[in-house]
């Protein structure tokens, strides 16, 4: 009798299981199913084992997309994490201005992702965009993100930094606010420099929020789709085609369901692998 009462909690978890089953496990299994078959048409399918996996793994275009993706995620982390920490450190700690700054910072996070892409098209267009025209006319730099691969990269990067750095700032700010005043007082008594305060108090105390920030930013940037799709459409050429976009082209554009499924699984495993690497690396540093 008591046992049954005690197990009631499991009932509350069931909805989660059902949702996860429908949202992740069942679709994933469908993908696994597709990835090992060649589909000619409805009802016509042949089991081909790991054939698609081999093909996808050897695909040059995939390699290119993967390298582009890794470079992009690396740049995003290298810029957004330090920048986020710097801004969080520079924010005021008390007074009415705190909420003002936080609201302004949070604004980009509230805009739908495809709208972000559109905003930046308008902003960066060399003919009418505020930024694009200024760079071309006032600074006399030849800038066109639709025709120049380097310009396109820079634009996508700046867009991502603008969009997502606030998240890092907010996380770091919360971490910084949680440090008791006594630590700063002690450091001041110990004659610590600003750098020493950062290195030995603020950074260690921010470790947990930074772990979350790095993981979130890595996963999000690795899965980026909507913004470059709207802004550059993956071009010029394939220069801003990242993994997600490559996958979409393959699955929807060319309707190669088998290879696309195999690729999806590989993609999923790569994300999982890198997240695990980051997580263990960061938690290991603290031991």
């Amino acid at each position: 009798m008591n046992k049954i009462q005690n197990n009631k909690a499991w009932l509350l978890v069931i909805p989660v299981f059902v949702i996860v089953a429908f949202s992740a496990i069942i679709p994933l299994m469908t993908v696994v199913n597709y990835s090992v078959q060649d589909i000619f048409g409805p009802g016509q399918r042949v089991f081909i084992g790991t054939e698609w996996f081999k093909e996808v793994l050897l695909d040059e275009r995939l390699h290119d997309a993967l390298w582009r993706q890794l470079l992009f995620s690396a740049l995003v982390l290298l810029i957004e994490i330090p920048l986020g920490i710097l801004i969080a450190l520079a924010l005021p700690t008390r007074g009415w201005s705190v909420s003002l700054f936080l609201i302004i910072l949070a604004l980009p996070l509230l805009i739908p992702w495809n709208v972000i892409g559109f905003i930046w098209i308008v902003f960066a267009r060399p003919d009418i965009g505020l930024a694009g025209k200024t760079i071309n006319d006032l600074l006399s730099i030849d800038y066109n993100f639709t025709s120049n691969a380097f310009d396109a990269w820079i634009t996508v990067l700046i867009m991502d930094v603008w969009h997502w750095t606030p998240l890092v700032v907010l996380l770091c700010y919360a971490g910084l606010r949680a440090i008791p005043d006594a630590y700063y007082q002690a450091a001041s008594i110990d004659g610590a420099s600003k750098w020493a305060v950062f290195r030995y108090i603020q950074l260690p105390k921010m470790r947990e929020v930074l772990t979350i920030a790095v993981l979130l930013r890595f996963m999000d940037s690795f899965l980026i789709y909507a913004e470059p799709f709207v802004l550059t459409g993956g071009g010029p050429g394939n220069s801003t085609t990242f993994l997600s976009q490559f996958l979409t082209k393959m699955a929807i554009g060319q309707f190669d369901l088998g290879p696309a499924a195999a690729f999806s699984l590989i993609y999923f495993l790569i994300v999982l692998l890198f997240s695990w690497l980051f997580y263990t690396a960061i938690t290991h540093i603290s031991q």
Binding site: P180, Y183, Q185, I189, D190, A192, Y200, S286
Partner: protein, 361 residues
């Protein structure tokens, strides 16, 4: 090491204080001797932490000057005052070893490798931290962490004063003894000026040479533990220090005697006369420790009824009724007690008289 002068110090958190209630710290004038161990004692909100912050430089007083060894430091930040502080909760640098923690204040001040190492090892030896010197500080117990905080102050030879903000809050009673002993020994050895903030009378009295009792932003008395115990300057102190606190009996004066509930209690010669000159509401104050409880009536004893007995192991607290008053009497664990009727003896030397709450003598 330094003498600390507080010259007409006062502090209000709001600008333009006009009445006494506006002050978190009411105007005060004190000289604290070089090498003294001072305790700031009072209930929460009495202003003791405000005063500590004024000394450490975290707070600039709205009035008055702070002098360290006659040098005006009122406008100097904490960093330039050469003080050290141990906080209520252990503050250590998590990522560093114990050695690095202790070396931190020296390295920040640009000391050489050998100097740092020599000094840290010396302090670690003194604080019995040598066995854990190369362990991560984060994983140590609370008392070890507080010892490290103290050590970070001691490594600096230029330290003028060490401030303690309720440092034993998170320490086990058993270990409190050991830490206090360590602290006392360091004080005896190095003659540092120590300032210790606490609400715990036991900690304050056992730690300090001089205790500063505060209430409501005001210093009520500065004295040795014995003075505070035997001659509390104010009824508040009589109540606050001692456990249980002093007994107070409203009384009237009649010749050289105090009269309460129709009973006459002898006072020291001349005391009643001085009290009359002062005027106001009169109270007798006598500590439970200085009352004698007898089975038989004796010279000058008063008949009382025993109302309660609390056996606290190595002593008993007996509540006795004298007229409308209830008094606590501390008696030895093996004293024989009558069931109800007893006789209470006062000692004139230890019976204090208060006029409007202030000690007459």
């Amino acid at each position: 090491m330094a003498r600390i002068d507080l010259q007409k110090i006062a502090h209000a958190y709001r600008p333009h204080p006009s009445k006494p209630a506006d002050y978190a710290l009411k105007p005060m004038d004190h000289v604290w001797e070089d090498g003294g161990a001072y305790a700031l004692l009072g209930p929460s909100g009495c202003g003791k932490s405000t005063l500590l912050n004024v000394i450490s430089g975290l707070l600039r007083p709205s009035e008055g000057r702070v002098l360290f060894d006659r040098r005006d430091v009122t406008d100097l930040p904490t960093k330039e005052r050469n003080i050290a502080q141990v906080f209520q909760f252990p503050v250590i640098y998590d990522t560093m070893t114990v050695f690095e923690n202790l070396a931190f204040p020296l390295r920040n001040r640009g000391f050489g490798r050998e100097q740092v190492s020599a000094r840290v090892n010396e302090v670690a030896e003194m604080l019995e931290l040598t066995p854990v010197l190369h362990k991560r500080a984060q994983n140590l117990t609370a008392d070890a962490k507080q010892t490290i905080s103290l050590g970070r102050g001691l490594v600096r030879s230029d330290v003028t004063a060490i401030l303690f903000d309720e440092p034993l809050t998170v320490i086990d009673p058993h270990l409190k003894w050991l830490l206090r002993r360590k602290l006392k020994q360091i004080h005896e050895q190095y003659k540092l000026t120590l300032v210790y903030v606490t609400h715990d009378q036991n900690e304050a009295l056992t730690f300090a040479d001089k205790v500063v009792v505060m209430n409501d932003g005001e210093v009520l008395q500065l004295g040795t533990p014995q003075e505070l115990f035997e001659r509390p300057a104010h009824t508040f102190i009589g109540h606050f220090i001692g456990s249980p606190g002093m007994n107070f009996l409203a009384c009237e004066l009649d010749g050289a005697h105090a009269v309460t509930s129709g009973e006459r209690i002898a006072l020291l010669p001349g005391l009643a006369e001085r009290a009359r000159q002062r005027g106001g509401r009169m109270e007798i104050g006598v500590r439970p420790e200085f009352l004698r409880l007898r089975n038989e009536a004796g010279d000058g004893t008063l008949a009382v009824k025993i109302a309660s007995v609390r056996d606290l192991g190595n002593f008993k607290i007996v509540g006795v009724r004298l007229g409308e008053h209830l008094l606590n009497v501390k008696v030895a664990e093996d004293q024989d007690l009558p069931a109800e009727q007893a006789h209470l003896g006062f000692t004139a030397e230890m019976t204090r008289l208060y006029a409007n709450g202030v000690l007459v003598g």
